[in-house]
Amino acid sequence: MTVKKYLKQISRLFNAKRIECENKKQCMQKVLKKLHKRKQLLKKQLKQEKSAKEIAQLKKSLVIVCTQQKKGIVLLKELRKR
């Protein structure tokens, strides 16, 4: 994690831009990718977590991410149809 943070700082220092999406479809795909990554992370954290309070919070986050993901998939389908 520290290495990742360090690299981020360096990239910011050199004003290195991420590859940006150019249209709605690409951008939605990018956002969905991020959501998928977060979902995986939450699932992993949920497996490792022991505290009931934290588990409840993680579950809530997971429900939110799933709902956002569902919305995104519907929107992406619509964008593809156009």
Binding site: K5, K8, R12, E20, C21, E22, N23, K24, C27, M28, K30, V31, K34, L35, R38, A56, K59, K60, S61, V63, I64, V65, T67, Q68, K71, G72, L75
Partner: protein
């Protein structure tokens, strides 16, 4: 730089003074103890801010006649106008009363102190409240060690009073050597010159003896021994009235600007009264004689006649000054203005950037972030938390405890200087820029304007809840304390998340939906907490209404911040931003999740 020079010079002068004069040492120690007493007294009264004392003071001083009566009664009971003035300064410094109410009390105290003259003249009685100083000090210190906030507050007040008396005692002791130098017969001069001279002596004698009552005793003795004329005695009494303000002026040294204004009001009142009394002394003397004759006071009973005079000229002062109280407040606010707060000017906005829409948007974005930083400071301090605490990993719950120190904050002033100035500049910039923008840029422009408004609204919401928040987070009622601390933690945690978002830590803008869910769940009105607390009689209905309102403010402030963050901290790619916004959950979806996960 100046402070670097002045402080060592003062210390050197004091050290030299202590070395050459034991009296000087005693007087300085007296002043130091007195000021320490003032600080302790203020701390004590501050404990009761928002509590019973504030309500009681508000009820007894909300009208001018009531505050005058308060001054008369309290001074009659305490037999010391200086003490009442000093306590009033503490009330004012602690924000318990208004300046106008304070002035009313001081006016009343001036009349109340005349009862001392009656007691001395009528019964030869001199009430020595200072006799209670030592027990006050002992009881006060014992109480400061108690865990109860109220007992601790009372302890600080008692210890403060004890130290005040102890300080006055040392000052008196120090001045003792000067007392023997006052031979009134030496200064016997007739006419107005004599009157002004004796008035000055009265001031000096009262400063030396730290008591106008002691000066009155001196005057009566001198008068009985024919050392001075009756007129001179009257002038001395007038001087004693001015001299008594010195204690209040000394007390205001450690007070805030409001306390200093009150000391100024006290001085002005006593000076004006004195000047009028000297100018019309022969007319007042005739009135005193007329009243004394009708009251059956013997022609040679100067002591009682002096008491009549003392009462009349103070009453005259009140009648003269009472209609001018509001003007006096305005005058004092003008003369002793609040310490200048630096106005934060826009850092990035400039008209040149208006010519280039992309640059204008970037400039505006930076300025709104500047506004957010200022607002963050106001919000953090408004919640009585420090910015570094919010930005750290410290568990916020550990920071919320009843004995935490209150962060001094004039939220209105800070709002005006650090938020409103930027807000106005941003709105002006947006108005100028909108005509030159393409539809795409205009959307971004308006989004940033909305973010600005949301930030300002968040600050206003916290501003509304600050007073109750400070009161209830220091309350002895654990239930209300917990609820208010939850509100603080809710906003502080959100600010922490936003900080992580802003600094590019591993937080995604869409995660703000989780914060929204939490805010929704924390709402005491909808989650049943409020009803439960009332039903179980854990909080009063008065507390409940405050909590209901403030919970609403906290909810709005949090939602405002989230709204601002979505425009400010997300991606700068407009299309990506649009796609992210489309995925944010709406209110209904949040409510559904809240119900499901309960």
């Amino acid at each position: 730089m100046l402070q670097k020079i002045v402080l060592p010079v003062i210390l050197i002068v004091l050290t030299y003074g202590f070395w050459v004069s034991p009296d000087f040492k005693e007087i300085s120690a007296g002043v130091a103890i007195f000021l320490f007493g003032m600080l302790s007294l203020e701390d004590g009264f501050r404990t009761f801010t928002g509590g019973i004392l504030e309500k009681l003071l508000h009820k007894t001083t909300n009208k001018l006649w009531k505050s005058v009566m308060f001054g008369i009664v309290s001074t009659t009971l305490m037999q010391s106008s200086s003490l009442v003035s000093v306590i009033t300064i503490s009330f004012l410094s602690a924000g318990l009363i208004s300046l106008a109410a304070g002035i009313g009390i001081i006016f009343g105290a001036n009349l109340g102190t005349t009862t001392g003259a009656w007691l001395i003249a009528g019964f030869g009685l001199k009430v020595k409240i200072s006799a209670y100083a030592m027990p006050m000090l002992v009881f006060g210190i014992i109480l400061t060690f108690q865990s109860s906030k109220n007992l601790k507050g009372i302890g600080y007040i008692l210890a403060g009073l004890g130290f005040l008396f102890l300080g006055i005692h040392y000052m008196k002791e120090g001045f003792e050597s000067f007392k023997t130098t006052i031979d009134l017969a030496e200064f016997a001069v007739s006419g107005y010159l004599g009157l002004f001279l004796f008035c000055g002596i009265g001031v000096f004698a009262t400063v030396v003896m730290q008591s106008s009552h002691a000066t009155l005793v001196l005057i009566i003795t001198a008068l009985a021994a024919n050392q001075i004329t009756y007129e001179n005695a009257l002038a001395l009494a007038i001087g004693a009235n001015i001299g008594t303000t010195i204690t209040a002026i000394l007390g205001s040294v450690s007070a805030n600007i409001q306390g200093k204004r009150l000391a100024g009001a006290h001085l002005i009142f006593n000076m004006v009264t004195a000047i009028v009394a000297i100018l019309f002394i022969y007319q007042i003397q005739a009135l005193v004689d007329y009243l004394s004759d009708n009251l059956g006071i013997a022609t040679d009973d100067y002591a009682l006649r002096l008491a009549v005079f003392h009462t009349i000229f103070n009453l005259l002062g009140i009648i003269l000054m009472l209609p001018w109280v509001n003007r006096l407040v305005t005058f004092l606010n003008h003369i002793l203005s609040d310490p200048e707060v630096k106005v934060i000017a826009p850092r990035y906005l400039n008209d040149a950037s208006l010519e280039f829409p992309d640059t204008a948007i970037k400039t505006l974005h930076k300025e709104v972030l500047h506004l957010y930083d200022n607002a963050f400071e106001v919000l953090a301090h408004g919640l009585n938390l420090h910015r570094h605490e919010i930005n750290s990993d410290v568990d916020l719950k550990t920071l919320c405890h009843p004995s935490e120190k209150i962060i001094e904050l004039n939220i209105d002033s800070v709002y005006n200087t650090k938020v409103k100035v930027l807000y106005s500049a941003i709105i002006e910039f947006v108005s100028k820029a909108q005509g030159k923008m393409s539809p795409k840029n205009a959307t971004r422009l308006f989004a940033l304007r909305d973010a600005t408004r949301a930030i300002v609204d968040a600050v206003k919401n916290v501003k509304h809840m600050r007073k109750n928040l400070l009161q209830y987070t220091q309350s002895d009622n654990q239930a209300i304390r917990n609820e208010y601390n939850k509100l603080r933690i809710q906003i502080a945690e959100l600010l922490r998340t936003l900080n992580a978002l802003r600094t590019g830590q591993d937080v995604d803008i869409l995660e703000l939906d989780h914060s929204r869910l939490q805010i929704e769940e924390n709402d005491v009105t909808s989650n049943g907490t409020l009803d439960k607390l009332i039903r179980n009689q854990q909080i009063t209905s008065y507390m409940a209404t405050s909590l209901m309102n403030d919970s609403g403010y906290a909810y709005d402030a949090s939602m405002n911040l989230i709204q601002a963050a979505t425009h400010l901290f997300g991606t700068q790619n407009e299309i990506e931003q649009e796609m992210e916004s489309a995925l944010f959950l709406d209110e209904l979806e949040i409510e559904n999740i809240a119900e499901k996960t309960q």
